[in-house]
């Protein structure tokens, strides 16, 4: 009986809950993922620079190939954090908390990239660096939420104790994600409405759409690659911290008799 449950457990998701096993799996996957993202980004960049110019926007349309994937990843990064938060709160999965901690700075960086490239694109197209329209404001709010999550993580010195409060904050913030996605459809402001992911198919010309899709895939692979690297770093960091604590306790135990006398 116990043998069968052990057998079953070996193939369930809890198998991945062992950090050592995660390190060995991810160590094997990581080089391939890194190579895949490098390849996709190289092909995507080549396609992006050889793609025809837009009839209205000219050369500046190429900003899109960085801007749109960054914006898409800023939201996906938050969703990765939200799923990990569920993992922390419901299953108490030990790696879910590591995943949130690793994803937050990456997501914040992509959000910043989306905002920065958007403003570089906005200056020649709209004549202004920044407007307070619905999409820009909600993206800015997303950036603030990432910073709030990072601040809360950093404010507590024990990462294990910080796990649940951070997960709760992440889940509460998930409310904003649909608002960002649909902000351009609900409020008709300066930012253009959704063009790629819509029910009646994309409205971009295929010659511009294909480089964009390849770049989006490359960015996504890059995200998961960096996420994996950051998770491994975090696991190692926690091991070092606990080893330091253990050795400090040992040393104290060794010196105690001397102090007592």
């Amino acid at each position: 009986m116990s043998e069968t449950t052990a057998q079953a457990r070996r193939f369930s998701i809890s198998a991945l809950a062992n950090p050592t096993r995660y390190l060995s799996y991810s160590g094997r996957i990581m080089p391939w993922l890194g190579a895949l993202s490098a390849l996709l980004l190289a092909v995507g960049l080549w396609m992006a620079f050889t793609a025809p110019q837009d009839y209205q926007q000219g050369e500046t349309v190429r900003i899109m190939y960085v801007h749109v994937p960054s914006a898409w990843l800023s939201m996906m990064g938050y969703m990765v954090m939200a799923v990990s938060a569920l993992g922390t709160l419901i299953w108490r999965h030990p790696l879910a908390d590591v995943s949130i901690r690793a994803a937050a700075p990456i997501g914040a960086a992509f959000t910043f990239l989306a905002l920065a490239t958007g403003s570089l694109w906005g200056k020649p197209m709209w004549g202004t660096w920044w407007v307070w329209d619905a999409r820009l404001t909600s993206m800015f709010v997303l950036f603030l939420m990432y910073l709030g999550v990072i601040a809360l993580q950093r404010a507590m010195d024990d990462p294990v104790k910080a796990a649940r409060p951070v997960a709760i904050l992440v889940l509460v913030g998930t409310v904003n994600i649909p608002i960002i996605k649909f902000s351009v459809d609900w409020w008709n402001t300066l930012h253009q409405p959704a063009a790629v992911i819509r029910l009646d198919g994309p409205t971009i010309h295929p010659s511009l759409l294909w480089p964009l899709l390849v770049m989006a895939l490359g960015f996504t692979a890059l995200f998961f690659f960096m996420h994996m690297v950051a998770m491994r770093t975090e696991i190692w960091r926690r091991r070092i911290a606990s080893m330091r604590r253990a050795s400090a306790q040992e040393r104290r135990a060794a010196t105690r008799p001397v102090l007592a006398e």
Partner: protein, 221 residues
Amino acid sequence: MTALILRDIRIGVRAGGGMLIGILFFLAVIAVVPFAVGPDLNLLARIGPAILWIGALLASLLGLDRLFQADREDGSLDLMVMAGHDQPLSLTVFAKCVAHWLTTGLPLVVVSPALGLLMNMEPAAILATSLTLLAGTPAVTFIGATGAALAVALPRGGLLVSVMVLPFVIPVLIFGVMAAYGAVEDPAPFTQPFLLLCALTLFFAALGPLAAGAALKAASD
């Protein structure tokens, strides 16, 4: 629940003077604006609703860290968390939020007409702004309770609470100011943003205590 509300109101009114500090801060923000933008009365009247909203928002954020901190220091917060078997913790949090809003949010709403006069606003604009503040400030308290609960274990969590809560209160601010302007300017509607503001308050009244209860439970063990 009523007993808890009454207890918190009594503490809020008597000890510490948190209520007075909130009002004074609100007054200070309003008083600083004319120095910054110049004493042009027409301009002040135009930006008045927005300034009143910003002032009330900052004043409500200021008092948020007091929501659970005092109870944690004297140990009564642990008792409330442990009493979670008899009464859901989110209900306790809800009661504390109501009491907190009655002692810090409601006074801000009450003094807002007087400050509106200082900003040279029309009676209609003053009435509309106070009405939107009345509908909107509870949302700030409810969502702020989540931030306060998350930061309750930290020794100096006050500033962090504001950073965490600010992204969530931005929609409240947007619709509050939109409704206040809608009452004065002709083509802009008043009812639609006002109803959205009420919806936000109801939504956060449900979500905030729930998340705050979970955060308190996580912080206690």
